[in-house]
Amino acid sequence: VKSDERGILAGSDLVLQQLIRASARRDRAAFAALYARTSSKLFAIALRIMRQREWAEDVLQESFVGVWQRAGDYDPARGSAIGWLVTIVRHCAIDQQRRRGRRPEGRSAPEEVLTALAAPDSADSAAGLRALQRCLDELDQQPRRAVLLAYCYGLTREELAARLGVPLGTVKSWLRRSLERLQKCLEG
């Protein structure tokens, strides 16, 4: 994956990498700048999973304390800085969601994500978006829903099974096969 195909915040990833490296050296100003640049996007990602602002605020707080502590672990050879940050936030949100118990049903519609994906956005990220969109389109409808609900809304495998009305084993094999197909498609 080349940096210009990464989509979200692609152009500024080098800056984020430098800010994370400086944060690892306990540079508070750099850490504040990292927060300023990324918090509104990361807050939105947390909010999509948590639904409640207060809970998403907790997730953002936990995540950034974690980023401060683990900044030294980030290595640009392992992928983009924004990808690393997003993974921390999403895992933190999924953990908190689990602790808070079952979420109310409804609202989260994976189709919204697909529609938004299709909408033209900034030119520099269009290639990565189009590729992912095309590959998601090649998946069957239900497995695609499972992937999107898991990634965007943080649904667990058990929640996916309940939501999509299939056994847990089916969800597991849908996810596994879909991820394999996505990889082949994106690399093909």
Binding site: I8, Q61, R78, S80, A119, L129, L132, E180
Partner: protein, 235 residues
């Protein structure tokens, strides 16, 4: 389970990024990532592959109180500043951490050998303290340097405690314990403070488990998990 099977590595990395791994499996997987750069790269590739799905989210400004809370929680780090330097690159050598993890006794010998071998290279660091757990295994090792008058603490063992806690370092030398700041948790990370902040030789350094950001009372509130005597410095 074998973790060197390419398909398995790919599948686990994908599920890790997707977020569908059961929490316990994920913690174990995160430990693997920490020591397996190849696996970490596969994870990074997956994070970048799925990243466009976040493009659709409209940015939302969080309230200012979130940043204030973060600042409060990282304030404890003011005393200890992590400064990995070239001279101390050996402190972060993976081989060393593996050796240390293999066995405490052998590990200390290994560390001392390391210091002797590298004495010509680094400005002769000497061991200031070894902070051992109740089982005797070292959690942190403190050595002099990288500059004169400084002491560097290196985390040497992965902490089994949940990451929602911090480890706070205390100086104990008559009177109430004095906080020296938070210690780094990941093996291979270091933090440096001034030698004069430590208790005199023979004094005790203790590490307690505290809420994130450190004790709010200025005194240890959690269990003391590690301790060690100051071995060098003025008596």
């Amino acid at each position: 389970m074998r973790y060197d099977n390419p398909e398995l590595r790919e599948r686990l990395a994908a599920e890790y990024v997707l977020g569908t791994m059961p929490p316990r499996v994920r913690r174990r997987f995160e430990q693997l990532i920490a020591t397996d750069p190849g696996l970490a790269r596969i994870v990074g590739d997956w994070a970048d592959r799925l990243l466009p799905l976040d493009q659709a989210v409209p940015a939302t400004e969080p309230p200012a109180r979130v940043w204030r809370a973060i600042e409060r929680r990282i304030a404890g780090d003011a005393v200890l500043s992590a400064t990995p330097t070239a001279d101390f690159s050996w402190l972060r050598s993976l081989a060393l951490w593996r050796a240390l993890a293999a066995g405490a006794g052998a590990a200390i010998v290994g560390l001392v050998l390391y210091i002797v071998v590298l004495a010509g290279h680094a400005p002769q660091p000497t061991v200031v303290a070894i902070l051992g757990g109740h089982g005797g295994e070292p959690g942190w090792i403190a050595v002099t340097g990288p500059q004169s008058g400084q002491v560097t603490f290196a985390a040497v063992a992965p902490q089994p405690e949940p990451t929602r806690h911090d480890f706070e370092l205390w100086a104990v030398a008559g009177g109430p314990p004095r906080s020296l700041g938070l210690l780094p948790q990941h093996p291979g990370t270091t933090a440096t403070l001034r030698m004069t902040q430590l208790p005199p030789r023979g004094g005790v350094l203790a590490v307690s488990l505290e809420p994130p950001g450190g004790s709010a009372t200025g005194l240890p509130t959690g269990t003391v998990l590690y301790q060690g005597k100051v071995l060098t410095g003025s008596p």
